[in-house]
């Protein structure tokens, strides 16, 4: 895959807001429910354009997702958005019983996932959502790596029946998919770099760090495959098994608790298909803390969410590899 050489950054939320406006233009069934965070989630753009299709129900997350369920029952494609701390944090039951069980056309697109929330601190740093959402039957879980992926995935989510959970990060991030021709397919990971000695499977903001780590490892003479596993459920079983077989060692990288997230999902797959050593980079089952925006890198470093940690993880997994 050809990656853009020119580095630029973009905001995932902005991409979501723009995509929603575009979708709304093409399909009158698109509606959006917000919870006093429409400015922050950039769904306000949609609301400004289509005020009659935007429902702000205030700070009431259980109500947000259940109203979205009602809209879906009446034939709408309902997007529901607020901070990841609160959807799913405050309404797992409603998501489970009211949306997933009846397989409703509700798309939960949330932002401010992971530690990069920054100054708001641990209460707002959602690190368990992927584990929770992944365990609910019928739910699909997406963690895009950049604004371009967001744009494509929102379109896919809108046109695919049934419930989705999509988590976005707060900060602007480097564009990975500068080459706009990349396809995003549900349940298919994207190989961003090929390699033969190990595979790094990442999601969200950690994909960028995985690419950095691969560069670093290349300098050490280790050839790494890098996979963007934006579709955590359904997950790309075949690709993961193939990576295990081809490269013999796997490291995962996610801005999420290592329990139950991407690392957990990949471990499950290789454990059942082609067991090879794996090392999970992520938050090791502890709560985060506040950091000013300019301190985010230090915060990530403190919690081990860096390219350096990924490099270490690859080396460790490789050291246990029999390949």
């Amino acid at each position: 895959m050809l990656l853009g050489s020119e580095k630029r950054t973009a905001d995932m939320r902005g991409a979501y807001g723009d995509a929603l406006v575009e979708l709304g233009r093409d399909d009158p069934r698109i509606v959006c429910v917000g919870g006093d965070t429409t400015e922050s989630l950039k769904t306000k753009k949609f609301g400004d354009k289509y005020p009659e299709r935007m429902f702000n129900v205030g700070i009431a997350e259980a109500n947000i997702v259940s109203v979205a369920a009602g809209l879906a029952i009446a034939g709408k494609i309902a997007f529901a958005s607020t901070y990841a701390a609160f959807i799913p944090g405050r309404c797992v039951d409603q998501i489970r019983n009211t949306i997933c069980y009846p397989y409703l056309n509700v798309k939960l697109v949330v932002s401010h996932a992971g530690l990069t929330v920054g100054p708001d601190g641990a209460s707002h740093q959602q690190i368990e959502d992927v584990a929770q959402m992944r365990a609910i039957p019928n739910m699909r879980v997406l963690v895009p790596a950049d604004a371009v992926a967001v744009k494509y995935l929102i379109r896919m989510v809108a046109s695919t029946a049934g419930p989705f959970y999509m988590r976005l990060a707060r900060p602007s991030s480097d564009i990975i998919y500068a080459d706009q021709s990349t396809a995003f397919e549900l349940g298919r990971g994207n190989i961003l770099e090929d390699g033969s000695d190990a595979t790094i499977i990442g999601c969200g903001l950690m994909v960028n760090k995985a690419l950095e780590a691969a560069k670093e490892l290349k300098r050490k003479g280790i050839s790494c495959r890098v996979v963007d596993m934006f579709s955590i459920k359904p997950i790309d079983n075949d690709l993961i098994a193939r990576c295990a077989k081809d490269t013999g060692a796997i490291a995962t990288a996610e801005e999420h608790n290592v329990i139950g997230g991407l690392g957990g999902a990949v471990s499950e797959v290789i454990g059942e298909t082609y067991p090879v050593p794996i090392k999970r980079v992520g938050i090791h089952d502890i709560f985060g803390e506040s950091a000013r925006d300019e301190e985010i890198d230090m915060l990530l470093e403190h919690y081990g969410l860096t390219a350096t940690e990924i490099v270490k993880a690859v080396l460790e997994a490789r050291s246990r590899s029999r390949k």
Partner: protein, 546 residues
């Protein structure tokens, strides 16, 4: 109140739904009879009279939506759907069993869930406090689309503990959802006990009013009041409507009523037959306002309404079919404004077909004509017009008359047969006991030929003859002199009800005895039977039961 409700047919359908629900619950060995029964009239009135839907086309775009937020009332909900025609009611017997479409809590029907649901279910419930938000979402979508569909949400008072109810309530107020009607099944009991002990909800009306809802309050077991409120709800603009339906949990089975113990417990299967009999034996008391002092009808109606009678019996006499003259449709029209109680109009007139339209226009709920006063063709036309206007048709026979042969061809749409036990024409006559044997035979013959309506006893009904006619098969009792004759209407109603209850308890106890579950039944029913022990001669037996 002239609501096109075909009152007796509606009552019967709700009774049928209760009977199917209890069969499902006893077969399953679990379920929630209490909530199913407190909401039976609410769901029945919605499904059998108010909502627009098409069982053969469940996704019909113009349908009204029903969201059962208090989803533990599933057996009652399923049975309402079955009676409404969505599926065969016999399927209720698979409730909560492995492989059944009738899950413990209802599941939204879709291709995806077709093995665990039945068409007609819009919402997957089970977790409390969510359905109102879903109703808000549907109502918003319908407004957005400029559609006329209405959304009805049933919520419970226990689930009103959930904060989300109030989130949804605020949102419905904000969005001025006048296409959303919420009905609160206010049975005052939740799993751990009485709502006002666990988490007080009162002042309920004030709360909803404060949340910018239009609030109506009704007796949730009176279909006429529910319909009245639903009609009023249709006139409200720019506001959602809350109907607080005051109900009794477990209503319909006396030992379950208002008893927290029966929130989520199934009665033993061996008692099913007796329970069905109880549900089938509801008695309706219909005071005849021509009794007692002449005229003063308004006062007489107000007095008995306070005592909780079931309907008002209006004896129309024309001075030709019977010697006396009472009043006609114009008087009924005036009285109609007084009350929502069903008007049970008994036309003792010649050529009833000629003036039937006047009584339809006067908004009677039941209209009974005399077999002696019309031909088969005339009766068929009357019946047809009454049905078309949502009025229960009835036929009356004098003590000396048998039902005409042709009536057997009209049973399907016949809601009541009045068996006169005096010669009609004046109030205060003595009951003719020879009518009893006629009533027994007639009841049997009619049932054998498919009659599913009520037998109404009219003429000389007092506390004693009520029991006799009850045993002979009557379930509606016209009480005239017994109520208005003695000056103590309050005491008279209590006496009539008491005697009806004694008759019921005796009948159920006999049935239990036949089924060899007498002791079992008496144990379950002990606290109900105590006041009747003396009359039923079971004092010692009851005392011995622990």
């Amino acid at each position: 109140m002239g609501f096109n409700m075909r009152y007796l047919d509606l009552k019967r359908k709700i009774r049928d739904a209760r009977m199917w629900a209890i069969q499902g619950i006893t077969e399953a060995g679990s379920g929630h009879p209490g909530a199913s029964f407190s909401a039976a009239e609410i769901m029945g009135t919605l499904y059998f009279r108010r909502m627009r839907y098409d069982p053969s086309n469940p996704d019909w775009s113009e349908r009204d939506y029903f969201i059962n937020s208090k989803a533990h009332s599933a057996p009652g909900f399923y049975s309402a759907l079955a009676v409404a025609g969505y599926f065969q009611p016999e399927e209720l017997r698979t409730l909560r069993q492995l492989g059944s479409r009738l899950q413990g809590h209802p599941v939204r029907y879709s291709e995806h869930q077709r093995h665990h649901s039945v068409p007609g279910i819009e919402y997957s419930g089970g977790s409390e406090g969510i359905g109102l938000s879903v109703g808000v979402g549907i109502a918003l979508a319908k407004k957005l689309d400029g559609k006329k569909n209405r959304v009805f949400v049933l919520i419970g008072d226990g689930e009103s503990n959930e904060g989300q109810i109030w989130e949804a309530s605020m949102a419905a107020g904000k969005f001025k959802l006048d296409n959303l009607v919420t009905i609160l099944d206010r049975n005052r009991i939740q799993q751990d006990g009485f709502t006002e002990d666990i988490m007080p909800l009162d002042p309920t009306k004030d709360k909803w009013t404060a949340f910018n809802w239009e609030v109506f309050e009704v007796d949730g077991h009176r279909v006429e009041q529910i319909l009245d409120a639903l009609n009023k709800a249709g006139q409200v603009h720019d506001k959602p409507v809350m109907i607080i339906a005051n109900t009794v949990k477990g209503n319909g089975i006396r030992h379950m009523a208002n008893n927290p113990q029966w929130h989520g417990k199934a009665p033993p299967k061996r008692q099913t037959e007796v329970l069905l009999e109880e549900l089938e034996s509801e008695c309706l008391i219909a005071p005849s306002i021509i009794a007692g002092e002449r005229e003063n009808y308004e006062d007489k109606i107000r007095k008995v309404e306070r005592e909780g009678v079931d309907m008002i019996h209006l004896d129309v006499m024309d001075g030709r079919f019977v010697p006396n003259t009472t009043f006609f449709a114009d008087t009924i029209k005036k009285l109609r404004r007084l009350t929502s109680l069903p008007f049970d109009t008994h036309l003792m007139i010649e050529d009833p077909l000629k003036s039937i339209q006047d009584y339809i226009d006067a908004r009677c709920d039941i209209i009974t004509v005399h077999a002696e006063a019309c031909t088969e063709n005339e009766f068929r036309e009357i019946q047809e017009r009454l049905i078309a206007n949502g009025i229960s048709p009835g036929i009356a026979i004098n003590p000396g008359t048998d039902v005409p042969k042709w009536l057997y061809q009209c049973l399907h749409n016949l809601d009541v047969v009045i068996v006169m036990s005096v010669n009609p024409g004046s109030a205060g006559q003595k009951f003719m006991p020879e009518v009893l044997s006629k009533m027994i035979v007639l009841n049997k013959q009619l049932r054998q030929n498919g009659f599913r309506g009520y037998i109404e006893a009219d003429g000389g009904i007092d506390a004693t003859t009520l029991q006799q006619t009850y045993d002979a098969g009557a379930r509606i009792f016209v009480a005239g002199a017994a109520l208005y004759g003695g000056g103590d209407i309050h005491g008279a109603v209590i006496q009539l009800r008491h005697n009806a209850e004694v008759a019921l308890e005796r009948r159920l106890l006999n049935h239990a005895t036949q089924l060899n579950i007498r002791a079992d039944w008496m144990k379950a029913r002990k606290h109900i039977l105590i006041p009747y022990a003396n009359e039923l001669r079971i004092e010692e037996e009851l005392h011995a039961i622990r």
